[in-house]
């Protein structure tokens, strides 16, 4: 004699069937549950990155209080213009989901957005007090390439894709 009685469909119950994997309701629930967990993870990563972006934006603002000769080597404080350009670039980096590891005053006078990776490839985006801005990609063997920060959004996107590839370990093409 069967001990199982089909549940009333209007009453929640833990017991469903001896063949749970074949239950259509459970399959739907499982699918929905996986979607929720997945979106939850994505949201968490997004928020983590967003927090980092906000922190870096705050750090950029704080650079306005760095004094002249902050390193004892006569380096000038980052100018308001250099900080402003760096903020614009940081916003662009955020839209590309590519954030620097460090935001520092540059010894040359300006702002340095410093990128590192698990491999030997590195990069810096520097905005100088002269209002110049460039991307410097390099490796720890001393090879480097410099690209002026482009005005075109499309070219910025292409350069940042190259920067991502570089940080993933792409070999540096040295002129």
């Amino acid at each position: 004699m069967l001990s199982f009685a089909p549940p009333d469909t209007n009453v929640p119950t833990a017991a469903d069937s001896f063949e749970r994997t074949s239950s259509r309701d459970l399959q739907v629930f499982d699918s929905q549950f996986r979607e929720i967990v997945h979106s939850s993870n994505c949201r968490s990563q997004f928020l983590t990155m967003y927090d980092m972006f906000k922190r870096q934006a705050n750090l950029l603002t704080q650079l306005s209080s760095v004094p002249d000769d902050w390193n004892g080597y006569g380096s000038p404080a980052p100018s308001a213009e250099a900080i402003g350009i760096a903020k614009t670039i940081l916003n662009t980096l955020w839209t590309e989901r590519l954030l620097p590891r460090r935001v520092l005053p540059s010894a040359e006078g300006g702002v340095a957005l410093v990128f590192s990776s698990a491999n030997e490839n590195r990069a810096v985006i520097e905005t100088l007090n002269s209002n110049e801005a460039f991307i410097l990609i390099y490796d720890r063997s001393g090879n480097s390439r410099t690209f002026d920060w482009p005005g075109s959004r499309q070219v910025q996107h292409e350069y940042l894709l190259s920067l991502k590839d570089h940080l993933k370990g792409a070999r540096l093409a040295v002129a």
Partner: protein
């Protein structure tokens, strides 16, 4: 008793740099990446745009101990005692740097003593083919090449293990 850095009157600035001589430079601890790595933006090339005396400053080991780099006399009277000291050998300086437009520059140390810091030197540059070694302003890409090469070779100095300091402080 702390040892003062040598004054300009204590040093012979005509003495040639030895290949194995070390050049010392300060770095803020907060600027270090992992494992003593530093990024190229730690080197000022502000001076590159002006004159030789503004080129990246270092102290030459023939007239300095690493700790001198942390002395206010060698830091424009600033308290930099919490900073770290990095070094590079003279023969590790890139002999030549190249701009992306093809122009080549020679890079070499120049002893430029300051009144309270006799070991003060700079990393100067000139056009590669210029035998007179007249200071030349490298282009931005050449400066970046130099800064990357310096960052790749600079190593942190372990002050606690430095025999030069022990020798100097024991005398």
């Amino acid at each position: 008793m702390p040892v003062l850095p040598l004054r300009d009157s204590d040093v012979d600035s005509t003495r040639a740099f030895a290949a194995d001589e070390l050049l010392y430079r300060r770095v803020l601890p907060s600027e270090e990446l992992a494992d003593g790595e530093i990024d190229p933006t730690r080197f000022n090339s502000l001076s590159f745009k002006k004159e030789l005396d503004g080129a990246p400053s270092v102290l030459r080991s023939q007239f300095a101990i690493p700790e001198d780099a942390l002395h206010s006399d060698c830091a424009g009277d600033k308290n930099v005692s919490q900073q770290k000291v990095y070094s590079i050998r003279v023969d590790e300086l890139p002999g030549q740097i190249k701009a992306q437009d093809g122009k080549a520059y020679s890079v070499y140390p120049v002893h430029r003593p300051l009144p309270t810091c006799g070991a003060h030197s700079v990393i100067g540059s000139c056009m590669a083919e210029d035998l007179t070694k007249t200071y030349a302003v490298p282009s931005q890409t050449a400066r970046n090449d130099l800064r990357v090469k310096l960052a790749a070779k600079m190593r942190p100095v372990d002050l606690a293990k430095n025999p030069a300091i022990q020798d100097a402080t024991s005398t």
